[in-house]
């Protein structure tokens, strides 16, 4: 059943959660579409594979639905779901084994996947970054991806992760330093 345009534009997370809990299961689609768009690429980044990411995102939405009654702050469904998704990605990652068996950064350019942007240098750079990201701590990687890949503001990130903007700035700073070291050393 199609989602009404009015629903798409106006319904805030809290209102939709309450509707679903009240029995309007179809309304859940509003949240699914909204957060698939918001976090899809983040999941791909965490897992390095679009199919694995789709599986993880799908599973996370189903888990979120099943435990929707436990969502303490329906107005912050996004942040709550983000944690479920992160947990699920972690589960999928460990389940599928170490995805990249510490591919040396220097060789990463040779094993890079196809990129939408076909420039060789760009592709190589992106591949090297991808490999380097793998060597960050989870918090640093998460902060760097949210900031530079999703291009979120620190305020948005703070709301999402329930961490202060200052602490996040520090994580991003450390992530950049680490990445510079890793990628610089590979030159």
């Amino acid at each position: 059943m199609p989602v009404h345009e009015a629903d798409r534009v106006e319904a805030a997370d809290g209102a939709v959660v309450r509707r679903v809990l009240g029995g309007d299961v179809e309304a859940y689609r509003i949240l699914v579409e909204r957060y698939r768009r918001q976090f899809g690429r983040y999941a791909v980044s965490l897992l390095g594979d679009a199919d694995l990411a789709a599986d993880a995102v799908q599973e996370a939405f189903i888990r979120a639905f099943d435990s929707l009654g436990s969502c303490r702050e329906p107005d912050r469904f996004g942040a709550w779901f983000y944690r479920i998704l992160t947990n699920q990605c972690h589960t999928v990652r460990t389940r599928s084994g170490a995805r990249r068996d510490t591919v040396p950064v220097e060789d990463a350019g040779l094993t890079s996947r196809e990129r939408a942007d076909a420039g060789l240098e760009q592709g190589e750079l992106a591949a090297r970054l991808e490999a380097a990201l793998d060597q960050l701590t989870p918090e640093q990687r998460e902060a760097f991806v949210l900031k530079y890949v999703d291009e979120r503001s620190y305020e948005e990130m703070a709301a999402l992760l329930d961490v202060s903007a200052d602490a996040l700035k520090m994580r991003v700073h450390r992530a950049r330093e680490a990445l510079r070291a890793i990628m610089g050393a590979a030159r």
Binding site: M1, H4, R63, A64, S67, G69, S70, C71, R72, E73, W80, F81, R83, I84, N87, Q88, T91
Partner: protein, 256 residues
């Protein structure tokens, strides 16, 4: 004969179109909204048109259309024949008009949709316009008027006479009861009914309850409905919940 029906239905459509075209923009948006809601629930076109026209008329009088759409959807879900649905919608629209008059007569110049709806439901439960006016006049704040009417209607539906229903609600409000305490009344009254208490006794107990306590005989305030579970997603440790004190079955000491 068929030609006549065709002409008549053509007139109906033309009339509706004329109404729609001549209606100001908000009413056009409203007509679209009604149509969308009804169509989404699978109501057939001719029923939808009939309900839309009733809704348009209500809208033109400044009455809310949502209750009419809801009624139509309810009837359709219950597999009620279309003609009966239209009749019920028409009746409700009429009650909204009468309800609004009653509320205006009690001094509320521009009742909002919720109040109009509550007044219409109250009329449906058997309360008359003067009684609706009495309840509204007894409300110390406008915000209490709609819940008070809802509670009075519920009491009426439980078998209390109109006089008793109005008296309990009006006196409760005059006695300083909060909205929460008003909304507690129907369930308390029902519990006491099942214990075999006569209506007069129930009314007295409801009015006798302490201002910030509960109205249940001999029991202090109930905890908020439902234990509130922690909000941790699966895979995370739920935070320890503060325990709610278990209420005693009899009053040990009066609550402050």
């Amino acid at each position: 004969m068929i030609l006549l029906v065709r002409i008549l239905s053509g007139f109906a459509v033309a009339w509706l179109l004329a109404m729609v075209v001549s209606a100001p923009a908000p009413l056009l948006a409203q007509a679209a909204a009604v149509h969308t809601q009804l169509a989404a629930r699978g109501l057939p076109a001719d029923l939808t048109v009939a309900v839309e026209s009733l809704a348009a008329r209500a809208g033109a009088q400044g009455l809310p259309w949502e209750p009419l759409a809801d009624k139509a959807i309810e009837g359709w879900a219950k597999h009620v024949p279309a003609a009966r649905i239209v009749a019920a919608v028409r009746v409700f629209a009429g009650r909204m008009g009468e309800g609004r008059s009653a509320v205006r007569g009690a001094g509320v110049a521009e009742p909002d949709a919720a109040l109009i709806r509550a007044a219409a439901e109250a009329l449906g439960s058997g309360l008359a316009q003067p009684e609706i006016g009495a309840v509204v006049r007894a409300a110390p704040r406008l915000a209490l008027a709609a819940p008070a009417l809802t509670v009075a209607a519920a009491l009426r539906a439980q078998g209390f006479s109109s006089e008793q229903a109005v008296a309990v609600v009006a006196e409760s409000m005059r006695g300083g009861r909060t909205m929460t305490q008003l909304l507690d009344i129907p369930q308390a009254a029902r519990a006491m009914q099942l214990q075999g208490m006569p209506p007069g006794e129930i009314g007295r107990r409801i009015l006798r309850a302490p201002p910030h306590g509960t109205i249940m005989p001999g029991v202090p305030g109930m905890p908020p409905g439902g234990m509130l579970p922690g909000g941790m997603p699966p895979g995370g440790m739920p935070p320890p919940l503060p325990r709610q004190p278990i209420q005693p079955p009899i009053m040990l000491n009066p609550m402050p």
